[in-house]
Point group: C2
C-alpha cells in the first residue's frame, strides 16, 4: 500500500463508528491518526478499510458509511495450512462426521458485495478494484444481490487475463469468478457448504469444485489421491471444510503448486524469492515424509525443487548479463477503456509500478498487456555483473 | 551470547579507555551502560570485549587492561563474498599486478595472542575459549610469541575433534591450527602475504595452502580450476588477497560447501535452515550462470541443491515421527579434564546448551562426545506430527 495518497480526509464519524464496532472512541481516533483506517479514492471515498487487524476486526475489512445504516464487510480470514494431512485432520476435524473437500484455485481473492446499490469487488486488502468490479458485474446474475443484498460472495478470480496471477491450467478463457464462500455482511457468518452450493446453483454463479464429503479418518487417503491428480494438471490444492462452517477450514497444496511458486519467485529472486523459499521447501519436506516416498520419488522431488529454484534464477542472471531486463508479464481484458484508466490509477495508488502497452481492440473489448519491472532483482543482478559483492 | 552472566562489574577505566580508543568519555560510559563492552569471566576479567561494532572498532575486539599498557586485539574483519568471480576480480583487484589465492578452510575462526605472558585463544566474538587455548598452547612453538609479543595469529581451527564445525576432509587427526593472517596488536595491520608465510615457516607454524599468485585478469580461470578440484574433496573455498594486504580480501566457495551447509542447515530446518537457505541457493545460481553450465551440469546442480535440502529434512521429520530426537553431535579431545570443565562453563555462559558424555580416556588425553539439541526443530516437528499447523 506504499505510495498511496488519500483523496480526502477521513469521513469517519467517530461516535457512530465506536458504537458500531464496539471500540472506545479513543481507539477509533487512534486508528484514524495512525492511518490504520483509510478511505478509498475516486467515487468510493465513503468506503473505509482496515489496513491492519484491529482487535476482532480482520485486516481488509471495509466500513460503508453512505448507506442508510453503517455496515461492515469483513476481511477474508486467513486459512491455516496443514503440512501433514493425516495428523492435522485428526487434530482439527475429529469432532465432525464428515469434511467437505473443495478445490483451492490459484488466482486472486476478492469479495463482491452490493454497496449502496452497486455491485463492487474488493481486493483482499479492502480496496475497490475497478477491473474486478467490471468483471464481476459482467459475470454475475444481478438478481442474486437484489434477492440477497446482505450477502458477500468470496471468490477466486482465475484465468489468463489476470493482472496478478495468470494461470492457464483452468478451463477459463479470459477471467472468471469462482465462489468459495458466502458470508453475511456485518457478522461475517459463513453459509454452510450445502446451502451455499445450492444457493449459487440457483443463480448459475460458478463456484469451486466440490470433490466430495469424506469421513475425517479416511479423508487423508482421498485427499492424497485428489492432490496427485490435480497436481499433474498444475492445479493448486484443496480446502478442507467443516460442512457446517463452524470449525476453521484448512488448506493443503500440491507439490506442483509449491514448485511453480518457487519458479515464479526465483525469476525475481531478490524481490520475491526470499519470502517464497523457506515455506515452500518446508511444505515439500513434510509432504515427502508423510507420503513415505521411495528413493526414486524423493529423488524426483529433489530435482523438481532444485530446478524450480535454479533454472529461473540462472535465466534471470544470464538475461540481465546480456542487458535484457526481466519483467513480470500479464494482461487484462477490459470492455470499456474507462476501466483501464481506473485500474491504472488503482495500481499506481497501491504503489505498484506497471508499464501498460497500447490496448489491442478485440470483438468484445480490449486486450491490454502489462509489464511489471521487479527493480530489485534487475538492479542487484546488474551490480553483481559489474563486480559488486552481494 | 544469551544467558551470559558477568562475574564482576566492569573494570574499565573510562578516562584511559576514552583516550586510548579516541572516543568521548560519554560514549565509553554509554558502551558500558548498554553492556556493549563486556568483561570475560574466570581468570580473564581483565579482558573486555566489544559485543557490537562501535565506530571504527570491530565487533569481537578485546581490550586488555592488566598489561603495563592498555592494548587492543582487533576483531577479525568480515571477508566479503563474491558471487561472480570474473567481474568481482576485475572490479576489486585490477589495481594490483597479481593476487594471492589461499585456501579458505572450514572450521572456526580464532585469534591467538600473548596476553600478559600467556598464550590465549579468542573466539570470533572475543571470548577466551578454554578448549582452543589449550590446543593452541600445545600446537604453537612458544618462541614465536616470545619473539613477537606484539603479533596476533588469525587462524582456522580445523579437524574432527571440533566442537563447532567437525570436518574430516582435511588431513588432520584431532584438531589443528592453520594461520591465514598475522596482524599487529592495536593497529590491526596485517602482514603482507609473503612476509607472513616466511615468518610462520621459520617457526613451523601451520598455515592455509597457498595455491599461487595470479594476474587479476587470468585469476578467474585458475580459481575456477582450484574450486572444482577442492570441491570434489569437500573442501570449502578460497580467499583472494592483495599480496600487500592493502586491498580488502574476498572469498569464494565451492558448490560442495554450499550444499554441505544446506544439508547441515536442513537437518535442523527450524533452527538453522531458514538463515542458511537463501544465501546458499543464491551462490549456486550465480556460479551456474558464470560457468555457463550445459544442461547436464545444471541438472546435476539442481538435484544436488534439492537433495541437500530435502533429504536431511525428511530424515529429521521421520526420525521425530518415530520419537527419536535429532541432535548435533560433535566431540572434543582434551589433555586435562580441568579444560573440559572450563569449556563447559564457556558454552554455558554463551547460552549454548550441550549434553556432554563421560570422558573416554585415551593414551594422550580424553575424548569427550557432546550432543547439542536443536530444540526448535524437534519441538516444531513433533507438534506437526500431532496435527498442529505451521
Amino acid at each position: 500500500m506504499n505510495g498511496e495518497v488519500d483523496e480526502e480526509s477521513s469521513l469517519v464519524d467517530i461516535n457512530e463508528t465506536a458504537i458500531f464496532l464496539n471500540l472506545s472512541k479513543a481507539k477509533v481516533r487512534k486508528l484514524i491518526e495512525r492511518n490504520i483506517l483509510r478511505n478509498n479514492w475516486g467515487q468510493y471515498t465513503n468506503l473505509i478499510r482496515f489496513t491492519k487487524k484491529v482487535s476482532h476486526i480482520e485486516e481488509g475489512s471495509v466500513l460503508n458509511y453512505s448507506d442508510a445504516n453503517l455496515e461492515i464487510i469483513r476481511g477474508f480470514p486467513k486459512i491455516r495450512r496443514c503440512l501433514l494431512l493425516e495428523p492435522a485432520l485428526k487434530k482439527n476435524f475429529s469432532s465432525v462426521d464428515e469434511v467437505a473437500v473443495e478445490e483451492k484455485m490459484n488466482g486472486y481473492n476478492v469479495r463482491a458485495a452490493q454497496i449502496n446499490g452497486d455491485i463492487i469487488a474488493f481486493t483482499r486488502g479492502g480496496l475497490v478494484c475497478p477491473y474486478t468490479t467490471e468483471k464481476v458485474n459482467e459475470l454475475i446474475d444481478p438478481t442474486f444481490f437484489e434477492d440477497y443484498p446482505n450477502l458477500i460472495l468470496c471468490a477466486e478470480m482465475v484465468g489468463p487475463d489476470n493482472p496478478y496471477v495468470a494461470k492457464t491450467c483452468y478451463d477459463v478463457n479470459s477471467l472468471d469468478f469462482f465462489v468459495f464462500d458466502i458470508r453475511e455482511k456485518n457478522s461475517g457468518e459463513p453459509y454452510p457448504v450445502k446451502k451455499r452450493r445450492e444457493t449459487l446453483e440457483a443463480y448459475k454463479i460458478k463456484q469451486v469444485n466440490l470433490f466430495g464429503y469424506f469421513k475425517p479418518k479416511d479423508a487423508h487417503k482421498e485427499i492424497t489421491k485428489i492432490i496427485n491428480e490435480i497436481g499433474s494438471e498444475e492445479r493448486e490444492g484443496v480446502v478442507v471444510k467443516d460442512p457446517e462452517m463452524i470449525l476453521q477450514p484448512m488448506k493443503y497444496t500440491t507439490s506442483n503448486s509449491n514448485c511453480k511458486d518457487l519458479e515464479f519467485g526465483f525469476k525475481f529472486y531478490n524481490d520475491i524469492g526470499r519470502d517464497y523459499l523457506f515455506s515452500r521447501v518446508i511444505r515439500e519436506g513434510f509432504q515427502a515424509a508423510e507420503w513415505n516416498e521411495n528413493n526414486q520419488k524423493l529423488k524426483d522431488r529433489c530435482y523438481r525443487v532444485g530446478s524450480s529454484i535454479l533454472y529461473p534464477m540462472v535465466n534471470t542472471i544470464n538475461s540481465v548479463g546480456k542487458n535484457k531486463k526481466v519483467t513480470e508479464d500479464a494482461q487484462i481484458k477490459v470492455t470499456r477503456l474507462e476501466v483501464l484508466d481506473l485500474f491504472k490509477q488503482h495500481l499506481n495508488r497501491s504503489g505498484i509500478e506497471v508499464h501498460f502497452e497500447e490496448p489491442i481492440p478485440e470483438e468484445d473489448g480490449y486486450i491490454v498487456k502489462m509489464k511489471k519491472l521487479n527493480k530489485s532483482t534487475n538492479d542487484k543482478t546488474e551490480s553483481i555483473w559489474l563486480g559488486d559483492y552481494w
